[in-house]
């Protein structure tokens, strides 16, 4: 199938006044297929947010090309088509909710697109149900918890019926409960509705839940593989300021002590199984 997002040799520079331009993206190429659930990892300033902003034409490539659904993002007359296809959710839930009532906010994008009122109503209800916030449709945003606000923000994007949704550290400002709610919602959108997800995150346990992990460092892609493969590169990840799940780290440490356990352990259950086997042998 055709890729939903194709970035080919992207280059991007930031320039602060009176300083030399900083190259943030360096000939970076990536393709994202429909239905994928991709995590993008990288420390602050690695260029991952800049990359994500190319996916819905908030930033335009200064070198190279970026296609969304086959459309070159530099085509100005297709701007709204691109933004409708690839929705974006940001870190701070407070700063992306526009209206004073939840359902009005979810309707915002559809109103901008000029959708018929009855159709807006239908799609707003559908979007609110898919993130589990239908009961809160008449609440004011400030009465909600962080996780709930973030789900409303996601509903506001889902209502546009995008093919892909890009989330820029959506859980960074949430407590563990809120993080769980949001992750569950995102996973559901991917599995049940087949929406392509690009999740930028600092949390390794979240990345471990994805199909594919892309590690960006200094404007280039360092690793791009399944979570199991990526997290087996413990040393490389630590070198670029990233972590691995504790389960992976424990196995890695044990292997350094001379054991030879499988290197691709990323989940708790896998780790328990491996350790149980190890302990029963030595008993």
């Amino acid at each position: 199938m055709d890729s939903i997002i194709v970035a080919d040799k992207l280059n991007f520079y930031y320039q602060n006044e009176g300083e030399a331009p900083q190259r943030v993206l360096k000939d970076l190429s990536i393709q994202i297929a429909p239905g994928e659930f991709v995590a993008v990892l990288g420390h602050n300033g690695s260029g991952k947010s800049t990359l994500a902003k190319h996916f819905n034409a908030i930033l335009l490539p200064q070198g190279g090309v970026c296609y969304v659904n086959g459309i070159d993002t530099r085509q100005e007359d297709k701007l709204f088509e691109i933004r409708q296809q690839v929705g974006m959710v940001f870190q701070n839930p407070d700063n992306q909710i526009v209206a004073t009532i939840v359902e009005e906010d979810v309707a915002f994008a559809l109103e901008n697109m000029g959708v018929e009122p009855s159709e807006i109503r239908r799609r707003v209800d559908e979007a609110l149900r898919s993130v589990g916030m239908y009961e809160f449709r008449e609440h004011a945003p400030h009465q909600l918890s962080g996780g709930q606000k973030q789900r409303v923000a996601i509903a506001g994007i889902i209502a546009m019926r995008p093919r892909c949704i890009v989330l820029d550290e959506p859980t960074a400002m949430l407590d563990p409960r809120g993080r769980q709610e949001v992750m569950r919602t995102i996973r559901r959108l991917n599995t049940e509705f087949g929406i392509t997800v690009v999740l930028i995150t600092h949390y390794m346990d979240e990345a471990a839940q994805c199909d594919r992990v892309v590690v960006v460092d200094d404007g280039v892609i360092l690793l791009d593989d399944t979570p199991k493969q990526v997290f087996s590169h413990v040393e490389e990840l630590k070198k670029v300021g990233l972590d691995v799940p504790q389960a992976t780290e424990l196995i890695y440490e044990l292997n350094r002590e001379g054991l030879s356990l499988p290197r691709d352990i990323i989940s708790e259950e896998e780790c328990v199984t491996v350790l149980a086997e190890l302990l029963s042998h030595s008993r």
């Binding site: 929705g87 974006m88 940001f90 526009v98 009122p117 400030h142």
Partner: protein, 271 residues
């Protein structure tokens, strides 16, 4: 604490008054104000009061709320009443000390003025008590939409109002937080003279401005991501439709207005 200030006077409910079209409510409020100012005797004013009583009863807003909304303007009411009382002469003299005279006419005019202001406040409060801020904004936007042809940025103004309403609670919370943080660093905001207190506000206002700009920037980006491009070609989820209820209420208000005019003509004016 700042958080305790209630923002927006809206009392959610399902009464007839709540369900009226906001545009109609705004028009009716304007008519009510006209009614108050046409009334020139107590009978006419009585019609206005009767209208208010019916309005509050139907919308189930407790009458004590009137007291609450009038409280801040009590000095103005007293001031106007006192001025009228002492400086309007005519009719029988009731009381006289030194150069001050209180006459029957002065007294009734003072009462009229006080009643008028009280009714004015109570009436407009009824509008805000029964209409959510967003419906109000919506109503204003649509009533003003003919002005678009005169190049008045009606949509933009309404959008600004909505965003302001949305961010007031957020910014109040933020102010609270910044105040606590600076107090924790020993900032003293409770003592000192006017100058010192004004100076003590700097550590609160600067971070507040900086964060408001940051929020504005992020919000603009989020709005762009949701295809916002001004009011052109925009539809709305909630259509405003006038129902028979709106016309019934409108009829009632027009009837009250006519009653006031009849009272004006049949009974002597207090002026």
């Amino acid at each position: 604490m700042l958080k305790d200030i209630t923002i927006g006077q809206y009392f959610p409910g399902k009464s007839i008054v709540h369900r009226l079209d906001p545009r109609m409510k705004i028009i009716l409020t304007v008519l009510f104000i006209i009614m108050l100012f046409t009334a020139n005797n107590f009978a006419g004013m009585g019609v206005g009061i009767l209208f208010l009583v019916v309005g509050y009863l139907v919308s189930r807003i407790p009458f004590s709320m009137i007291g609450k909304s009038i409280k801040p303007v009590v000095p103005i009411i007293v001031f106007t009443a006192v001025l009228n009382m002492f400086f309007i002469e005519g009719g029988r003299v009731l009381f006289e000390i030194w150069v001050l005279k209180i006459t029957t006419e002065g007294l009734s005019l003072a009462a009229m003025m006080a009643l008028r202001i009280i009714c004015l406040i109570a009436g407009t409060s009824l509008l805000t008590y029964t209409t959510s801020p967003i419906a109000l904004t919506d109503g204003i936007e649509r009533l003003m939409s003919p002005l678009k042809h005169l190049k008045v940025p009606v949509h933009e103004l309404a959008m600004m109002m909505t965003i302001a309403l949305r961010f007031i609670p957020t910014l109040i919370e933020e102010t609270d937080k910044i105040m606590s943080a600076q107090k924790a660093r020993g900032a003293d905001m409770e003592s000192g003279g006017v100058m010192q207190r004004a100076k003590a506000l700097v550590p609160i206002l600067i971070p507040l401005f900086v964060s408001s700009f940051r929020r504005a920037e992020e919000l603009a980006l989020a709005m762009e991501c949701r295809c916002y491009h001004g009011g052109e070609g925009r539809t709305r989820m909630k259509q405003l439709k006038l129902s028979y209820l709106d016309f019934v209420c409108c009829g009632f208000v027009v009837f009250c207005l006519l009653a006031t005019i009849v009272c004006n003509n049949l009974l002597p004016s207090v002026y």
